[in-house]
């Protein structure tokens, strides 16, 4: 009994109410989606408007509903810890999503994605850091905005801020700015994509290149469609693999190159790369490998009753709970922290990435970005 006790954090009970709240909210959101889809299929005009014109699927219901609840109702404090831990449930969802791919997809879409993300990530990070340096923006703010707008938003800021020693005020501005523009992109890009008839795979690539924050990126792609999600997740995996390299670049650009490293703060570069490496990606590739090996006993995502089919059903639930957590965590008060120089940098970088990303995916076309799956 004691051994079982040690499997749980001593204060894990505080997460239960909020997590259950997200679970119930996700259940309601998914059933509302089914209800609207059912009426839409039956030819009901209002449902067709909601389903087709307003694109109100479970992602939109959970995100918009979550934002409305969070910002208009007084959320009891007891729910907040559980709401926060609901967001990372997307991570196991992404690992499980590995069953959607075979190595041919990873090689084809992944290599295009790798090339695009390398250009976009390092392009954004280098240009932002260089301009910040030129315009006299502090190293701390330049470093976190370069990484934040280049790689994966707030996650990149968290990884980079101790390295470039950003101060708390700069961090608050940067996080507020990334959240603001990430949220704006989440709610505008699916409509822009639809209005210009962007294919799902093109939209997936576009969102993976342009949307600043990773949680919003996954949500926008799932909102647009399964194919968009498949492409976005694969390119996003390539994108977050670059996180340790961007942190390393920021270390070189701001600290090593200028000889400003303090002797008592010597940074071990190998430890830095190891600590910043998103280890869960290995789980994702393990599932891709297992799916590619065509193991009979595991089946596939489309073979009803097989283990991979069951896992495929679970990923939607992971995403739904995660999106409920994201929606309920989007606080307008947090976004109001956006400001100062960070706002200008964030706005410019997001607009440039959005436009350039769209041009690139339109030029590449759908075929090269499409995940065929097993």
């Amino acid at each position: 009994m004691n051994k079982i006790k040690y499997l749980f954090a001593p204060d894990c009970g505080k997460y239960v109410p909020g997590f259950l709240f997200c679970l119930v909210f996700a259940y309601i959101g998914m059933n509302l989606d089914r209800l609207i889809a059912g009426h839409h299929n039956a030819g009901s005009d209002w449902a067709t408007f909601l389903y087709e014109s307003a694109q109100l699927n479970y992602v939109a219901i959970l995100l918009l509903g979550g934002i409305i609840i969070r910002n208009t109702l007084p959320i009891p404090k007891v729910l907040l810890p559980g709401i926060k831990i609901a967001r990372p449930i997307i991570k196991p969802g992404i690992i499980i999503l590995g069953v959607h791919y075979v190595w041919a997809d990873v090689v084809r879409v992944g290599s295009v994605g790798l090339l695009l993300t390398a250009v976009f990530i390092f392009g954004t990070a280098i240009i932002v850091m260089w301009f910040c340096k030129r315009w006299g923006v502090s190293d701390g703010l330049g470093g976190i905005m370069g990484a934040g707008t280049g790689v994966c938003g707030v996650s990149a800021i968290i990884a980079t801020s101790p390295v470039v020693r950003a101060n708390p005020i700069e961090m608050a501005y940067a996080i507020g700015t990334i959240l603001l523009f990430g949220t704006l992109m989440l709610f505008t890009m699916p409509y822009i994509g639809n209005s210009i008839s962007l294919s799902e795979s093109q939209f997936g690539a576009w969102s993976a290149l342009a949307i600043l924050n990773t949680a919003q990126l996954v949500a926008a792609a799932e909102w647009y469609g399964t194919e968009a999600l498949n492409t976005a997740v694969l390119i996003n995996v390539a994108r977050i693999m670059f996180l340790p390299l961007v942190v390393l670049f920021a270390l070189w650009f701001y600290v090593l190159r200028t000889g400003r490293q303090e002797s008592n703060r010597e940074i071990n570069k190998w430890h830095l790369v190891r600590d910043k490496f998103p280890i869960f990606i290995i789980g994702f590739f393990l599932f891709v490998l297992l799916n590619s090996m065509n193991i009979q006993s595991l089946g596939g995502p489309r073979i009803v009753g097989s283990p991979f089919w069951a896992m495929n059903a679970v990923y939607t639930w992971c995403f739904a709970i995660g999106f409920a957590g994201i929606g309920l965590s989007i606080s307008i008060e947090d976004m109001k922290k956006a400001g100062g120089t960070a706002f200008t940098i964030g706005m410019t970088a997001s607009l440039v990435k959005m436009v350039l990303g769209l041009i690139v995916v339109l030029a590449i076309g759908s075929q090269l970005l499409r995940v065929a799956g097993s």
Binding site: I90, N167, D275, K337
Partner: protein, 149 residues
């Protein structure tokens, strides 16, 4: 008479502290500076793809402690320069809530706070703490907002 002054270490709060100290001297009032350590940044350590979370939390904590120490040092330097005795307090939490709690616990006669000159976006933004304080406290306590640059 008791004066409570908010000290967040920014330039506008330095001007507010000067004002509080000079009022404390002229009115022979008891002045207390309050610095609030806001743990808001820490709430982001569990971002989905966040790596190096422990290092981030330690770094933020270190920065917040250093800021508090610097605010305390600047306050006491101002007091020493003016030959004035005053108190410095640190609280931890959401600044608006903590300032209101301090007001209700110590019941000062005057609250002095610094305030930035705000742009349109800034006025919309939550950085407008003095305005929020005025709204919450209302007529119950006189507030002086010293505008910075």
């Amino acid at each position: 008479m008791k004066i409570l002054v908010c000290a967040d270490g920014e330039s506008h709060s330095t001007i507010a502290i000067k004002k509080a100290v000079s009022m404390g001297l002229s009115l022979t009032a008891e002045v207390t500076a309050l610095h609030v350590i806001d743990p808001w940044l820490k709430t982001f350590h569990d971002e989905i793809y966040a790596q190096g979370r422990r290092q981030y939390l330690e770094y933020v904590e270190e920065c917040l402690e250093v800021n508090a120490e610097e605010a305390k040092r600047a306050f006491y330097l101002e007091c020493i320069a003016e030959g004035f005795n005053a108190n410095f307090k640190v609280r931890r939490g959401e600044p608006l809530v903590e300032i209101l709690d301090e007001v209700s616990e110590t019941v000062p006669d005057l609250l002095i706070t610094g305030g930035k000159r705000l742009t349109l976006w800034g006025r919309f933004g939550s950085g407008n703490l003095p305005l929020q304080l005025q709204k919450k406290i209302g007529q119950a306590l006189p507030i002086i907002v010293v505008k910075g640059i």
